[in-house]
Structures are given as C-alpha cells and as structure tokens.
Symmetry: D2
Subunit: 363 residues, 4 copies
C-alpha cells in the first residue's frame, strides 16, 4: 500500500538543524511525492496525546536557519515506560499501543523520528511493533553509531571555536591558562574538532584519560618556549587516569552538583595547586552550544538527511536510519544502530593530526 501520509516528531535535547530537517522532509514529501505531512508536538508525548499540527509549505517557510524545533521536544518521554497517573499515583506503563492507535486513527503511514539514541531506541521498538519508521540521527555530541556526522555538531564546534578565539586574546594578554569545558559526555568530538580549530594547546577527552602531570608539563614547556599562556579544551566527560592522585574533588554535595561541579572546574582547581605563576580561569560553555542559528554546513547536511528520509519512504525501506558515510548519504538498520556509541579513536587520523602540530592529550 503506497504511502499517503507521514508524521514527523523530534525528541531529545536541542540541536541546530532540526527545523532544516523538518522543512526538507515536508517540502520533499509534498512537492516531489504528494504526501500529506503532520508533525507531532513535544516528541513522543504528542504521539501519545495525539497532539499534532499539519505541516505545509507555509508551516515550514522561513525556518531553515533557525535553531530549536517548531515541533517542540521533550527529553525523557519513553512511551514503552511512560509515567502516567493511576489512582492518584504516578506509575510507569507501556503506553505504546495508544501511540499505534493514534497513528492508525490519523491514517499515518510512516513515522519519521528525529532524535538521538534514546529517541531512536523507541523508534526501533515501534518498528518492532510493525510501525513503518524512518530514523534521522541527531546528537550534538556526534557520538551516534553508524553515521560519520550528525547535524548540529558543526554548529556546536563553530560556537566552541569562537569561544576559544575569544579566550585566546585574554590568555595571551594576561598570561593566563584558560580552560573551556565543552559538551561531550561520552565522546570527545566537540573538544577534538574545536580544539584543533581554536588553537588549543591541550585537548582532554573521555577516550584518552589524562594525567594532570602531563597537562602541567605541557604548560611549562610552552613557558620555556616563550609562551606564558595556554588554552585547554576539555570535554565534560573527560576524566583523569585511574590511579591519579586526587587533588580536588568535584563538588557532589552542592545543591546542584551537575551544574556547579564539573570536570572543567575541577581541572582549574587542580592546576591552581600545581602552577603558581599563572591565573587560571574556566568557562563552561553549556547550552550556548546547542542553540542559535544553524551553520551553513548543518543547513546542508540537515536538508540532505530530510530529503533522504523521504526517498527511503518512497522506496519503502522502513526501519532504517539515514546516515552519512564519507560524503555519501546512505542508511543503516535501526536495529544495528541502537545502543552503541561512536567514540574518538585515539589512533585516528585526526588525533594524530592534533598530536603532529603539538597538541597534548594529557597522556
């Protein structure tokens, strides 16, 4: 039975390019194949509550460059384990059948899910229930398996690189050690790319545990070469080598440990104890990396993903996620993609490039 109507939803954290994907899916679906398109609001929650808007050429007009998502998003709505109120209590239930019913009620033939590993896990689970699903990968951290790049990533490294450029002038003028903590809980892609682009002296990532002594060594080596300042970029998931001497602890007992503590500030505290002749400052870039206008690169990648998703629908290749290999748009089975992480390979060309130009990974 041919596709006539598709639905889109966006799940998880913010990521520049979501609107560009929505626009490309909608325009291609309408203009090229004559499909009808709707968009569920707030990710899976909208699918559960059957809360949607029609997506027309007008709805998606003027959104190509805009961050955020016109469909809104929610962070943790897993319909297979969903918090509902029953008899005055909050209980977790599988409400996925409600979602399937809603899709039937609205005559939706295919569901296009734009999201990260969590959101796409649900997409796979709906596929297992017989729903025709197409996934589109989204993660600011670029750590999704089976795709070389995800949209939003280059927008984030543009922001991080700009921040490093700004910190550079102060570091140089004031002989400081400037630390920038960027996103990357499990994977150090943002730190690696922005560190190379932003002329960092040290890049610390989860994939390469660091020793504080090596960081100090690099800073001192630079001083000896007439560079009495250093720039360090650190992924939020970076960690010292096992067995390292504990110098200062991340504040766990503060009102808000996640927000107040953090590895960047720990590193600053540690370095303050070991390096006396420089002032040390840490900036946590935070949500600024996730919002704002979508970069040129990501507008193009998002558009390619959106068009490719509709082509997969037209070819009835359901249960797949679009992805990028090299410069080729292709696809992979959701079953194959889920639950894995794409990490920085410490032996990869880009890490070697960084080392070749003198960047230290603290190892």
């Amino acid at each position: 039975m041919a596709t006539k109507k598709i639905a889109i939803l966006t799940g998880g954290g913010d990521c520049p390019g979501l609107n560009a994907v929505i626009r490309a899916v909608t325009r291609t679906a309408i203009l090229k194949y004559g499909y009808e398109v709707i968009g569920y609001k707030y990710g899976y929650r909208g699918l559960y509550k059957n809360d949607f808007i029609p997506l027309t050429l007008d709805t998606v007009s003027g959104i190509l460059h805009k961050g955020g998502t016109i469909l809104y998003s929610s962070n943790k709505d897993n319909l297979f384990d969903y918090a509902v109120e029953e008899n005055g209590k909050i209980v977790k239930k599988d409400v996925s059948d409600v979602a399937v019913e809603n899709l039937k009620k609205e005559n939706v033939d295919v569901l296009v899910v734009i999201g990260g590993d969590g959101t796409l896990t649900s997409a796979r689970d709906f596929a297992r229930k017989g729903v025709k699903v197409i996934g589109i990968p989204k993660t600011i951290d670029n750590d999704l398996y089976s795709t070389d790049l995800t949209f939003g990533f280059y927008s984030a490294i543009d922001v991080a690189t700009d921040a490093l450029d700004r910190l550079h002038t102060t570091a140089e003028s004031h002989h400081r050690i400037m630390i920038l903590e960027v996103m990357g809980r499990n994977a150090g892609w943002i730190a690696l790319y922005s560190g190379i682009a932003g002329s960092a002296d040290v890049i610390l990532i989860p994939e390469i545990p660091y020793s504080i002594e090596k960081v100090v060594e690099k800073v001192e080596q630079r001083k000896a070469q007439g560079k009495p300042f250093s720039i360090i970029v650190i992924a939020e998931g970076a960690k010292p080598k096992d067995g390292s001497v504990v110098i200062s602890k991340i504040v766990e007992d503060s009102p808000d440990p996640v927000r107040l503590g953090g590895i960047g500030n720990k590193l600053a505290s540690d370095l303050e104890k070991l390096i006396k002749s420089n002032e040390i400052r840490c900036t946590v870039l935070g949500h600024i990396q996730r919002g704002g206008n979508t970069s040129t690169f990501d507008r193009i990648l998002s558009t390619r993903y959106g068009v490719a998703a509709v082509e997969l629908i037209h070819q009835e290749k359901f249960g797949n996620m679009v992805c990028l290999k090299g410069d080729t748009i292709t696809y992979d089975s959701l079953e194959n993609v889920i639950g894995k992480t794409k990490n920085v390979d410490p032996n990869s060309e880009l890490v070697q490039v960084a080392r070749s130009i003198g960047i230290s990974f603290g190892d």
Copy 2:
C-alpha cells in the same frame, strides 16, 4: 617644556579595544605631533621594572580589531603598595619613586594610563607626585564615573546578546527557563543592555534588588499568555531583597566558591524549588565576554579616546581622563573621577523603556 616622548601602559582585566586605543595614541602622536612613543609591558609592573618596547607605526599595524593588549597587563600591581621580596620575605612597599625615576631615565614626558578605577587611582597618585598623566577609562562593566561609555562594553553586550539569542531557540523549543549570568559586579549595565537587545523577560541587576516571588510571577504570567518559556539575564552582582526567604545558598565552602557558586546558579536552584513544570538551566558567560575581536562601535570609540588623549597632551591638560558625554568627547579631572561608581539609575529612561515593553526587574 614641550612634550617629546610619551609612554603608554594598560592595566587591569581584559577589554576589547585596548589595542585600538594604543594604535590611535601611537599613530596620532607620531603622525600629527612627532612625539616618540614607548609602551610599558604588564601595566605598572613594567614601569617599575623599566620593561618597555618602542611603539612605532609598524608595532601598531594590524591590531585595530584585535582583543587583548599588545602591551600585556597585570591585574593587581599597585606600585604604591607593591609586593617585593626583602630578606626572603614578601613585604608591601611604596615603590612609586622607582617608577618616577624610570620615567626620568627614559626621558618620558607624559604617561598615558589605560585602565579601570584601580589602575587610574594609581595614575592619579602619580599625578600627585608630579608626573604628567593622562587617563583613558577602561571597564567592561561600564561603571566608571564621569564617562557615559567605556570601550569594550558594547563588545561585551554583543557577546551577551548573541548568547541570549542562542538560549532563546532552546528555551522556546524545550519550554525551558534559561538563565544567563553576565558580568557586572557592582553595576547592571551589561545585563540591562543585553537584556533589552536579547529579548529577556526578566533582568536582574545589583541596583534593583529582586524578590524571587516576582520572578516566579513573571514566569507564570508568561505561561498564562501562551509562552511556556522565559529568558532571564542576571548580573553577577545582582542580589535578592533584604528579608527574602533564603531558599538555596551560594556554595561558599566549595574548593572554589567564586567560580562554582554564583548568583545565576543560586537563582536556578531557587526557581527549581518553586517552578515544577519547566526545566531550568543556567549559563555563566564568563570570560567569553572579555575577549575576541573588538566590535565596530568599540573600535571607533577606542580610536576617539586615543586621539583625544594625545590632543590633551598637546594642550598640556595633564591629570585628566578622556571621557564621553552624550556623543561628545571631553575630559574630566582624575581627582574627580576616582573612587566613584556609575550605577544604573532605576528611574532612568532605559529602565523605563525595559519596563514599558514588559520586562520585569523582579521588584
């Protein structure tokens, strides 16, 4: 006795425009009046150690747009109360005579000091000792007395406004309350200007103590109007009204209270306890505000200040600081300027403008 040689130094924290001032002073001095120019390195420390470089047309070439200072800076070097080692101990001494001797030795006729209140206080003290001094006001916070604007300020609010724009897309898409903490220890200028330019819903500044209830009220009022997200910009020196209920405390006992705690994070913690239906995120913009390229506006203002300083030298009006009143470059006595702060007047036009378009100050 006519001026033949002038010296420049830059003191205090980083501020976009320092290089533009150095360039304008140097070019005007050389091209228009034929003065010789040198620059002391690391602020007053260089004056004490007689550590300087000649400033020529070549030295100042290509630096107009660059943040930082080619003369470097130091933060706390007060030669009237200077830390020196004597018999293996660090003692504080008045070493200003050494500086005066150095100026004589190098035949420097006039000293141009670019800095904030601390740096300019020393400039005044040197003036009292008979040194011919011209001051040029520098503060990222824009809180120096007797001048309407200081360079660097508009560069900082460009950065803060850009950050607010970025936070806006996420706030809207994810129905969040986004808090941005900006600089402004004593005065709320950056928060006020960037809040208006960046479409903030709430602006919290030191000059208008806030009540957390009023902030919550604004957020809830917006929800009632169909806007389930809010943007709050808060100056680092903002504070709750006396007598407010203490909800969460700033972490004072952390390894690094200044860096980890902070009013923005406190506000986030407080709001989390009072508002259940939104996620709340705080970003502390930090040193990103101080570095990077100088904005168009500040390049022009810095250049005007630099030229005006040399004109004051030519007219032998020593002991003064150049300043901006309205759109007119003028000057004021250092004696009159020092030790005062220019605060946001809660009844000023700009605060009224903000209130008129619906921005809350939490009061």
Copy 3:
C-alpha cells in the same frame, strides 16, 4: 479625547530595526496604556487601500532581531501625488482624503509613521490635514536632520566593517588596492564610520570632494613606508573635485547605468591608469548593507524610539518625530525636520580623528 487606537506604517527602503520599532510600539501601547494597535501594510499604499492587520503581543513576538518589516513597505507611494488609473490612463492625484477617511472608519486616533525624509514629508502633510501623527526616523544613511542617529545605521556599518576586514587580508597578501563602495548618496556617514572601524587608508565622501592625485599620493606614500597595499572606502555619492581631469567616465549608456556604473568602479578604472604596480579591485556592497539581523546597538535604539513614540502619544504631543541627541531620546517638530539633510561636517571631531590617525580624505 484620549487615544484608544493607533496605527503604524513603515515606508521606504529596508533598514534593520523596523521590526524592533514595531514591536516596541505595540508592546508599550498594549501593556502600558491599553491602546489597540493595527499596522497598515505596504506603507501608505495600505493606508489608501485600508489594508491592515491587527498588531498584538503575538504578532510582534520573535521579531526583535529580524531585519525587514512584518508590515512590508513600498518605496514611492505618496498619497498626495498618487498614481491611479482613471479611464484607462494612469494619472497622478491627491488621494490623501481617502486615507483620512480610512483612519476615521477604523477609529484610528494616531498614526505612527516610520520612514525617511520622503515618508515623513507625507506624515507632515497628513499632520497639516489634522491627522494626529508621530514620526520615527529611519534611514540607513543616517542623514536625517535633527537626530544624531537613526536605527539601521550601526547594523550597516557592522556589515561594511566586516567587508573591510575581509578585503584587508587579501589586500595585504596580494598587494592590492581594494575599494569598497558603500551606501551614502548625499552623506558619507557609513563610509566615515566603517572606514575608521575597518582600518581604511582613504575615505571618500560626498562632503569632501576628492582629487585622484591625492588618492594616488596616499597609496604611494604607504608603499614608501613598506605597506604595498591600500584599502579605500568610498560612499556612492562621493565625487571628484570640480575641475579634476576626467580619466574615465561612469558608464551611462549601459542597460542599467545605476547598477553597472558607480563611483567605486570609476575610481578603480582611474587608479588603474595611474598606478601600475598593484592590482585594483572594487566591491559594491549594495543591499547586503540593508538586510539581515539587527545589531545589538540598533535593537536597543529601535526599542527606545518605539517606546518614546508611544510616550509622545500618551502626552498628546502630535506632529513630532522622536529623535536622539547625544544619548538622550527627545523629539522635534516634523515641520522642522523635513527637507533637510544632516551631512558630515568636514571639521567635525570624527573627521579630525580620522585625519589624526593618518586616514586621507583625498583632499
């Protein structure tokens, strides 16, 4: 009789900040004074055709930073001399009474007109007919009389300065003379400001006729100083001194003289004949100066203007235009403002500043 309903219209060319003004007028009118607000579309044409939209808090949401105008504009619609079809012919007629009738029909108490000299001339003429009018000055060129600054101007010089920065790297690497033609038909403000901010070597403006020999002299002088490249910014209305030797003519007989010819390209042709050792390139910046996001500075100025316009309405001070003097928002009679141009004074501080740092005006 108290104001209950106001109408806004935007006329003339594009200018970043129009939406910020519309937003500030609308929000202040509704939130502070409870007025109803409508917006006529396409400037006076919408007033003539009674084509308007209601302006609500929702209508003006999310537009603060956006270039363009949500009310659209038209360039040459003067209702006092309006092209209408009568008996199959186009004739020019005074249709202003129709406009007045429309205002009455819609119970509009006050008309807020945002525009340049042409648009505001009509506003004055409506005032003379008894319509309660408030003007808000708009000109990218900054040449409106009685106000120190108009919004959009700083956005334009940000764009021009960025272009000069870009041309600089190529000029320096390739030893070129790079010419940038910027807007400014009658007044050289954009060239003057961006020339200082963008490190131009020569600034050519309508107010200071140039001699080509002086331009060549400056270029050669720079070479002698080891700078084998030069940057020239020229206002579109700049002109050689009377009696100058005609070297090359502006192409008048091309299909589109205005677009193809132009003073920047003439200057390039002239210099090619006089300077053999450099390649010379001219870029006409054109409409890029008028569009795109509104700068921080202009967002604030536009907001101040919008709020001030509503305050004038509240105070029943009709027939006036809001304006900026120094850093103070004030107002002046439309009768006093119209038909005059604010030119760069060749003896002004800013021109002297430019000369002091070695910039040539070709005179």
Copy 4:
C-alpha cells in the same frame, strides 16, 4: 637521502586557510620530524629571486584563523614562461633552472606548493625536472580534480550564505527579486552549496545552462503560492542555454567589462524586461568571498592537509598532491590531477536534493 629542509610557497588568488596550512606544515615538520622550514615569498617569484623567510614556531604563531597568506602570493608567475627584461624589452623565458639552482643553493630537499591548477601545473613541471614536490590543493571554487573538497570553499559559502540571509529579509519585506552573483567561473559549487544553505529559490550554475523563461516561471509560480519575492543565486560562469533569445547583453565595451558587466547584472536586466511587478536588485559578492577569517571547517581541513603533506615527505612519496576523498585524507599523483576540472554533476545527489525541496535550476 633523508629530508632535512623543506620550502613552502603559496600561489594564485586568496583563499582562507592558506595560513592554517603553512602553520600545520611548519609545526609538524619541526616538532615531529625536525626538518628545517623556509617559505618563499610571492609564490614562484620568490623562488626565482631566492626571496624567502625562515618559518619557525614563532613565525607561524597566531595565524591559524587569519585569511591571506603570510608568504604573500602572486597570480600569474609561471617560471617556465616568465616575463623578464632583456635589452630593454620584456620577453617570456623559461627560468625554471634558476629556481632549481636556488633550491640547491639553499639545500632545500622538498618543495611544498599550495595552489590551484595553474600553480600546481608548475609544481608538476618542477617534479618532471627532478625536484621533490608535494602539492596542496587550493581553490575557492572547489573545482580541482581528484579532491572532494578544498579549503577556503566552506569559508566562501559561509560568506555567500550570510549574504543570502541578508538579502532574504529585504526581498520578503519589499517584494523584490534579489540576485546574488557568487564566484564559480567554471564550476557552480559555491552557488549550489550556498543556494541550498541560503534558501535560494533559483540556483544557476555553469553546468546547467538556464532558460530565462524557466526562471520567470519559478518566480511567477511562487507569487501564485503567496510568495511575492524570490532569491536567485548565480555563479559568475553561469550561462543561458544556446539558442536563448538575447534580451540584454553583457557590457563588453565599458571601461572595465569584467568588473562592470557580469552575468548577474545581465540576469537582472533580462528579468526587468519580463517581470513588471517586482523590483529587481543584483549584488556581486566579489572579493568578500575570498578574505577574512578562516571558518572552523577550513581551519581543520587546512591543518589536516598540512600535516598530510609532511607525512608524504616523511614517506618520500613525492610528486603527489594531498586530497580528501569522503572524510579520508589521501593523495594523488600531480600528473593525474593537472588540467582537469571537477564540475557539479547535474545528476548528483546534491542537485537532486535541491530539486527535491523545490529549487529551480532554470532548466
């Protein structure tokens, strides 16, 4: 015989990333392999005149983000057909032996040539003469054969996309047809990428000759859909289909045809004759595309190229050019690369993507 000393030169037009390449080559050569590095100034001219500078860690400090080239460049210096003065006349001669002698005199083991097809043709010719050469591809147009991407290209499309964003607001507010002419004499890559990223309605490129009627059709179709404005991006090398009706000619007899005329302005003239209800404006982006800061993407790509060039030297794989295939850095023989152009394939995925979302190519 192991490499001990390498020389770098940059040839041809400006391109953001040249400095990043120079820096990466120099740092890797010194830090990783202990080579000595020098840089010839002004491309091959410096090689001929033996005009060079040493390249050290200090020389390449702080240049990663800067446009231009610290080694300068020249556009048309082919040492195999070089203009020299002999007996008062300019004659063309093969002076390549002088260059080879200079390399020997300075004990240069390997020459790294960064340039486009012309510059690399000479590199190949030196390789044929026995010089150990490594090529690094540089073209703003991205039309070099055998590499998927060249640095500078993404910086250029960032600028073009920003310009399209700016034109968009005016087009929409003023119901205009805005034309942007971008670089691309033989290949339409910049137009294609920036057109997709900048939300163009029509993209005209050399590879797909256009018919003016199809362009008009697209504009009218948009009006029928309630979009009374259009954005057209056109590569400078775009051309109408053979047999098209000639509407207006490019001005060939003007003082400077290359500069004044141009396909963008021709298109504007043509459309003005065919479309009456819109104002039409053309902007020629010109050299702004080539200068300014290097984008994040290009900083990384340039760094990878620079490191890879040194690795090829270390592996003694001379006579090759580094290149990018997909996301893999590899290399190809200069013999294989020269004299070919990489054009946009009208059937490629990206052209299909553009068509899918409704962009017209005027065919």
